[in-house]
């Protein structure tokens, strides 16, 4: 049993410090303004999104109700697509499965994944003797900085270009100026070599179609295309809540996700259903063409089934991870990811209660203002204040029994 009072004291000091941090203040101020303008513009340009979001809410309701069946269906289809599907109940199982596939002494390029953060996947693979490179620019900065993400979509939102230049100059052992284009270029050059020499590429997924076994990954940088396309092995780690019944459902879910992540259309939408293949010679299907020869999907539970089984909290699994709620959260606006652990802000406090524990999430649960503006923004209309209230009652219930 943790001492909430002690944890709370340390957490509070961290929040107070963050709220006075000029870098956070400046970066978040710009990000919130930009997010709101871009999202308003994207929703105005594609006005069907509101009705589509409502439809996706229905898809999510159905998917949570029928998750076990969808998981079973998806795993079978992935196998029939010449991929391999696994189910991991918790972090330990997920890391074990990944390491069994990968082995040791391998070079791994990895795309951004919140589930990866949740599982501390990179650390788990490194402990097994592998070299792992984060390829999302923000994640790469944090890997070098030994820091954690401060926003689920823009993980290095709190690091200004000057600090990035310092980090890169030290790592690349040459003078990198505080110029964003040059900073991007130096990482591009470094990672290009990694993509084509890596043994394994790892990605997450935004949504998975159970009927076709196709995983959908939304991105802008193009790093996921390379991670999932260049190495001979691709491993996707996916939370079981990402399953929806059909490919069309997956597309609808993906469109709503990127629209509320402030994009009219993202740079890339990757759709992957199995290893690369060709039938160009005598119409004989051969696996392992230009892309990966091996394709693995690890479906991870890690507390999700428990969340799914409890009707009070099931809707938290509807979260598309668009990040919109965070930009509207008055606490997040001044503290960034310090109001969080792996998952951030109000919705994060609900997730942390399940993927970790209610005790661990308690300081976050008591930070949420329960003001409800996140619900206004949320395309899934997730009732975060209601769930936070209920979880608070669980926090104090031991004390009062």
């Amino acid at each position: 049993m943790s001492d909430f009072n002690k944890d709370f004291g340390e957490y509070k000091k961290d929040l107070d410090k963050a709220s006075k941090d000029e870098n956070i203040n400046r970066a978040l101020g710009r990000a919130v303004k930009s997010y709101r303008e871009n999202t308003d513009a994207a929703l105005a340009k594609y006005p069907h999104t509101l009705a589509l979001a409502e439809e996706v809410r229905g898809i999510k309701d159905y998917s949570m109700e029928n998750n076990k069946q969808l998981l079973d269906q998806a795993m079978k289809v992935i196998e029939s697509n010449h991929g391999k599907a696994f189910y991991a109940e918790d972090r330990e199982a997920a890391i074990r499965i990944a390491n069994e596939i990968i082995g040791t002494g391998k070079v791994i390029v990895k795309g951004k994944s919140m589930l990866g953060e949740e599982l501390k996947l990179r650390e788990g693979l490194e402990e097994a003797g592998n070299e792992v490179w984060e390829t999302d620019l923000g994640e790469f900065i944090l890997q070098l900085k030994k820091d954690r993400p401060m926003h689920i979509l823009s993980p290095a939102i709190h690091v200004p270009r000057e600090q990035v230049a310092e980090i890169f100059s030290k790592f690349f052992n040459k003078e990198v100026p505080p110029d964003i284009a040059e900073e991007v270029a130096v990482v591009r050059e470094f990672l290009r070599e990694k993509y084509f020499t890596a043994d394994v590429g790892i990605s997450g997924a935004n949504v998975v179609a159970a009927d076709t076994g196709q995983i959908v990954i939304i991105e802008n940088e193009g790093n996921v295309r390379l991670c999932t396309g260049a190495p001979p092995v691709h491993i996707a780690i996916v939370g079981i809540e990402k399953l929806v019944p059909t490919f069309l459902d997956a597309m609808k879910t993906a469109e709503v996700t990127w629209r509320y992540a402030n994009y009219g259309a993202p740079g890339y939408v990757n759709i992957i259903s199995g290893p690369s293949k060709t039938g160009d010679i005598e119409k004989v299907t051969t696996y392992g063409a230009h892309g990966p020869k091996e394709f693995y999907v690890i479906f991870v539970d890690n507390g999700r089934s428990k969340m799914m089984a409890d009707k009070n909290y099931r809707q938290a699994l509807h979260c598309l991870r668009c990040g919109g709620c965070m930009y509207e959260c008055p606490v997040f606006q001044v503290t960034a990811g310090h109001f969080g652990r792996t998952y951030l802000s109000g919705i994060g406090s609900v997730w942390e209660s399940f993927v970790d524990s209610v005790d661990a999430a308690a300081p976050m649960l008591y930070t949420c203002l329960r003001c409800g503006r996140c619900v206004e923004r949320c395309p899934m209309k997730i009732e975060v204040p209601t769930m936070v209230g209920k979880l608070r009652s669980e926090v104090v219930s031991d004390d009062t029994e």
Binding site: S19, L369, G372, E394, D399
Partner: protein, 327 residues
């Protein structure tokens, strides 16, 4: 037997005060009802004016929060301060000093908001009653902080007290009380068959009878989260301003999209709360309006905390409308 979890003392003290004293800071009924003055409100009637003692808390909360910002909230000293009244005999701390530390002008102002609200309702022709001896706090903080089990028992006492007044309608001056009686109590207790209304709804219904308010420049409305998002009440304020001849401007975030004042974090994260209050003050001031109107006691307190540089003039909506009668 599971180990007892240590939670921040402020939570325990608020809980114990509400459950045992019917008020988060253990203020007694005599203190709470001192705002009535010459109004001579009957204890029973069809329309119950309900303050919940919420505006009455504000001068003390601010005083305590000022202390809390220099004392670590996890320290025993903090615990002593927050528990001053119940620990008075054990520690020798004079609880009255804590309560007396509230500024007289703050006390006068916040208490008078109840007086002005009751007066407005009377002048609009509502025959209101007020339970000056038995009124209990709504328990909104028990609900907010997760003490749901305690709330269930406490709600019975509150419901009985309301039932005893014979009221058919309750008029809540705070959106937090209205939310409790409208949305929470019916789910957890045998709540009397009464209509629950907010002060602004009652005024809105008779807005044509309001005297004009002489105020030449536009004001800006700060919508409270509870009022706007949970109760869906925001247009009524604008209609009432139209009725009294006062123009208004809208802040960047308003109505269902209103920005929280930071008030809910005031007890556990006072510094953070103050920063959020200051940011909301800036949003309000950025409209160019010289005066902001507030319609929730906790918003009023939080916005005042974030307005220490007097960036904008701050009135409770009640105070502003009452000006029409003072012209």
């Amino acid at each position: 037997m599971p180990a007892k979890k240590k939670i921040p003392p402020v939570l325990e003290i608020l809980r114990d005060n509400i459950v045992n004293k019917g008020n988060p800071l253990a203020l007694n009924a005599k203190q709470n009802s001192s705002w009535v003055k010459d109004l001579e409100l009957p204890a029973k009637g069809d329309i119950l004016f309900y303050t919940g003692g919420e505006y009455q808390l504000l001068p003390y909360i601010d005083s305590l929060v000022k202390t809390m910002t220099i004392v670590d909230a996890t320290s025993s000293a903090f615990s002593l301060l927050m528990g001053a009244r119940k620990l008075v005999n054990m520690t020798g701390i004079n609880a009255e000093k804590i309560y007396a530390s509230a500024l007289a002008k703050d006390k006068d102002r916040y208490f008078s908001i109840n007086y002005k609200a009751a007066s407005i309702l009377r002048k609009l022709g509502y025959e209101i009653c007020y339970d000056s001896t038995g009124e209990l706090y709504s328990g909104a903080l028990l609900h907010e902080l997760g003490f749901w089990k305690e709330l269930k028992g406490y709600a019975v006492k509150v419901s009985d007290a309301i039932r005893a007044t014979g009221a058919k309608t309750i008029v809540c001056i705070s959106p937090h009380s209205a939310e409790m009686f409208k949305q929470v109590y019916p789910e957890i207790v045998d709540f009397p068959q009464v209509e629950v209304k907010t002060f602004i709804e009652m005024v809105w219904e008779k807005r044509d009878l309001l005297p004009p308010v002489k105020y030449d420049s536009p004001v800006v409305i700060h919508d409270s989260c509870r009022m706007a998002r949970d109760l869906g009440i925001f247009q009524q304020f604008r209609d009432v301003l139209d009725a009294v001849g006062v123009s208004y401007v809208e802040p960047y975030r308003c109505k269902e999209w209103t920005t929280c004042c930071g008030g809910p974090d005031k007890m556990l994260f006072p510094e953070l709360s103050k920063i959020m209050g200051g940011r909301r003050v800036k949003e309000l001031a950025d409209t160019g309006a010289a005066k902001a109107l507030i319609s929730c006691p906790y918003c009023l307190s939080a916005i005042e905390s974030g307005n220490k540089d007097n960036t904008i003039l701050v009135d409770d909506f009640v105070e502003f409308i009452y000006r029409g009668y003072e012209n």
